[in-house]
Symmetry: C2
Subunit: 153 residues, 2 copies
C-alpha cells in the first residue's frame, strides 16, 4: 500500500468508511441482544436528550430523511418504546416522547455503546483524541461548506 501524498484523499475516504463500518458493526452486535438496531438506538438517544421533538428534527439529528425516521418511529411505537402525540400543538409537527420501558432499555444500551466508543479510541492519547475531533470537524466544514441552493428534494 504505502500511500503517496497524491492519493491521500482517496485513502482517507476509504479509511473513514472502514472505521465507520467497523464501529457500526460493533454497535450492531452489542445492541442486538437488546432487540435494538443502531438507527433505533440513535433515535431513542436523541429523544432522551431532547424530549418532545418532531420526527423531522429526529431525522436531521440522525442524518436520515424524514421518511426513514418515520419508519423507525413506527417500529419503536409498535414496541411501546415511544409515544407520538395524537394532535400537533402547532403546525403539523407531533411531539414524540419516550415511554418508561424505553428509558430503562436505553440506559442499558447507552452503556454498551459508550463502552464501544471508549474501546475505539483506547489507543489514542487525550491530545490525539482532541486532534482527531478537530480534523474531522474541519473535514465536515469543507464538505458542507457550500451546497446547492437548487436541488433540495
Amino acid at each position: 500500500m504505502r500511500p503517496t501524498m497524491d492519493d491521500l484523499g482517496e485513502v482517507i475516504g476509504y479509511v473513514l468508511k472502514r472505521t465507520q463500518s467497523a464501529l457500526r458493526a460493533r454497535i450492531d452486535e452489542a445492541l442486538r441482544p437488546l432487540g435494538l438496531t443502531t438507527p433505533q438506538y440513535a433515535c431513542l438517544e436523541l429523544l432522551q436528550r431532547t424530549p418532545g421533538i418532531s420526527a423531522s428534527e429526529l431525522a436531521r439529528g440522525a442524518f436520515v430523511t424524514r421518511q426513514t425516521m418515520n419508519a423507525v418511529l413506527v417500529g419503536l411505537q409498535d414496541r411501546g418504546l415511544v409515544i407520538r402525540a395524537d394532535e400537533a400543538p402547532t403546525g403539523r409537527a407531533r411531539p414524540v416522547r419516550l415511554t418508561e420501558s424505553a428509558v430503562a432499555l436505553l440506559a442499558e444500551a447507552s452503556g454498551r455503546v459508550a463502552a464501544i466508543n471508549e474501546l475505539m479510541i483506547a489507543g489514542l492519547t487525550d491530545a490525539e483524541r482532541l486532534d482527531l475531533l478537530d480534523y474531522l470537524g474541519r473535514c465536515i466544514t469543507e464538505l458542507e461548506g457550500r451546497n446547492d441552493p437548487s436541488g433540495l428534494t
Copy 2:
C-alpha cells in the same frame, strides 16, 4: 456542546458518522448524473484495481455481505458494465470483469470522487492528513481486535 473528556468517545463516534454521512452525500450527488450509486462505484473501482476477482472478494473490499454485493453486481450486469464468467475456473468463484463502457464511465466517476476527497481534506496540512490517517487506523485496530472466532455468519 463543548465536550468534556469523559464523553469524548461518544462525540468522536458522532462526528465520525457525521463526516462519513457528509462525504457519502457528496459522492452520491456527484455520481448521480452518471447514473451510478456509491456502492456501484465502489464495486467498479475495486474491479479496475483487481480484475477478475469474485463477488465474495468484492464484498469484503466494499465492507458489505456477499448477498448485497451480488445484488449490486446484478444491476451492473444488466446495464452492461460488468461481465461474470459463465463457469468457475476453480471452485465456485466466477471472475467478474469490467466492460469497455465501464472503463470509460469509471474514469469520469473516479475524477469526480477524487475531487470530493480532495475537498474534504483541503483544510488540513500534509502533516495533519497523515496524523488523521494514523489515528483512524489505530481506531480500526482497536475495533477489529478480534475476539469472536465463532460468529462469522
